[in-house]
């Protein structure tokens, strides 16, 4: 891994997530109609952390679920490897709810498009709001995030790697140079 820069460290991530939790609560005036849905893999952990923050700040606990979008992806025929599916775990009704869809990095927008399709098959939410830890630009679809942890303008030769303690050994966001790989 050819690291160019460490953009967010552990403290930075903690602060960013606190701010995002505040923004979500402010825009939605609390958690009354809110549900949190994290996208596998790292979006799941970010959403869990946001849930904890919301619990601390607002003393409330919106329903929380995990979405796997593999079955909705449009790129499996281009890829070399067969995509591995895992289970979507949303045990509550999302009809007429304000869904906060959470992912780690927003890039082309194709993953989010797949997630929107998947959510529509689960019900008809009132609103879907997108929350991402990092927006790295280069959108290929007309999609934007409602809540952004950090904007990181990147080139095509760069990659943003989010690390989370739950599955990696640290909390951090790195900018990686992939031109030499």
């Amino acid at each position: 891994m050819n690291i160019k820069a460490k953009i967010i460290d552990q403290e930075g991530m903690n602060r960013t997530l606190t701010r995002l939790a505040h923004e979500i609560l402010e825009r939605n005036k609390g958690t009354k109609n809110l549900v949190l849905i994290g996208m596998r893999t790292r979006g799941e952990f970010i959403s869990r952390r946001l849930l904890e923050k919301i619990r601390e700040i607002d003393h409330s606990e919106p329903p929380y679920g995990v979405l796997d979008i593999t079955l909705y992806r449009d790129d499996f025929r281009k890829r070399l490897k067969q995509p591995q599916v895992s289970v979507t775990n949303i045990t509550f009704d999302i009809n007429e709810k304000d869904v906060i869809l959470i992912d780690d990095v927003l890039y082309t927008g194709r993953t989010v498009r797949s997630a929107l399709d998947a959510l529509m098959d689960l019900g008809r939410p009132s609103t879907i709001q997108l929350c991402v830890l990092v927006d790295r630009g280069h959108r290929e679809l007309p999609i934007r995030a409602d809540f952004i942890g950090k904007n990181i303008p990147t080139s095509f030769n760069e990659e943003v790697k989010v690390k989370m303690k739950e599955i990696d050994d640290e909390d951090a966001v790195y900018l990686i140079d992939i031109s030499k790989e």
Binding site: R77, R79, L80, Q82, G123
Partner: protein, 311 residues
């Protein structure tokens, strides 16, 4: 890791990892079946033909439903309405269907080896939906899925297959699959229905149904194929029921919890009593639901397999 083969012809020789992958993937599709919209766009643009040269209700419907829920385009072919009646050969029929650019073929045929033969004359992914008395891999996979769902594991479980083993493709696929997953397999039925030297496959043969109930965690009760050979292999259906039929008295007498599977259609009062077929031990209807999920998993894994992957 992708599947190691681009066809599903049977479970003989299929590695444990492949079976594990299919069963794990089916868990995802089981979840899809519980959604308000039970459909995903995964196989959009893929064309699948169901070639059924032998009658089938549940397997064909289950496959068709699985394909539709993955958004594939499906064509159904059955001999009764096809040009095979006009004398067209099997090979020509397949070649013509292939020329219509199909991606996958699900085939059922009364002759063993037809799916294997298809792999030589077609470029499509071939899925065996039952070939003669040879194999019926998706049925065995859904049986294994249902057992795993009930017990949380397959390894170390004791499973007894009861009935007409000699004429059963379900039995053979189950033996191969369960053995690969580390289960202990035994067979129970009249001597006339147990193939000679079957022990070579690493299975135990029991001729006493009470012993089978006492010794096992699961009974997979096969259908007596009335239309094929019933009369010749045992004196009467009543006698078969008396000696090998699963009844609630028998289950109570041998006093233990047991899980009962049946691939259907059930001959009530022959291999299984109505009371048992509708009772607390059976998971027969779970098998039917799980069948759709397992077939979705197989179609998904083969349909998304890169041409470079798998043999």
């Amino acid at each position: 890791m992708p599947l190691s083969s681009r066809h599903l012809l049977g479970l003989q020789g299929v590695p444990k990892e492949d079976i594990q992958l299919i069963l794990d993937t089916a868990v995802t599709f089981r979840e899809v079946l519980e959604r308000p919209i039970k459909k995903v766009p995964t196989l959009q643009g893929k064309t699948i033909v169901n070639l059924f040269f032998e009658n089938s209700t549940r397997t064909r419907i289950s496959f068709e439903l699985a394909q539709k829920r993955l958004s594939a385009d499906t064509i159904n072919f059955s001999t009764s309405t096809s040009s095979t009646k006009k004398g067209e050969t099997f090979k020509d029929t397949v070649k013509n269907i292939e020329a219509m650019k199909v991606d996958m073929i699900v085939v059922r045929h009364a002759s063993a080896g037809v799916p294997q033969f298809l792999t030589r004359i077609s470029n499509a992914n071939i899925i065996n939906a039952g070939d003669g008395a040879h194999e019926h891999p998706t049925q065995a996979l859904l049986d294994m899925y249902s057992i795993r769902e009930k017990f949380g594991r397959l390894e170390g479980l004791k499973v007894c297959i009861v009935g007409d083993i000699a004429h059963s493709r379900v039995a053979l696929s189950n033996i191969f699959g369960l053995k690969a997953m580390g289960a202990h397999v035994s067979l129970c039925g009249p001597a006339t229905m147990i193939p000679r030297d079957i022990e070579k496959l690493g299975v135990k043969v029991i001729h006493d149904i009470d012993e089978a109930i006492r010794e096992n965690d699961v009974l997979n009760v096969l259908r007596i194929q009335l239309e094929r050979q019933a009369g010749a292999l045992f004196p009467s259906l009543r006698e078969y029921h008396n000696y090998f039929g699963i009844t609630s008295e028998r289950l109570e007498k041998n006093g233990r919890d047991i899980v009962i599977l049946h691939p259907g259609p059930i001959n009530r009062g022959v291999e299984i009593s109505s009371e048992v077929a509708d009772g607390p031990y059976q998971i027969i209807l779970d098998q039917v639901t799980n069948g759709v999920a397992v077939r979705m998993a197989v179609l998904y894994l083969l349909g998304t397999l890169n041409k470079a992957d798998g043999r």
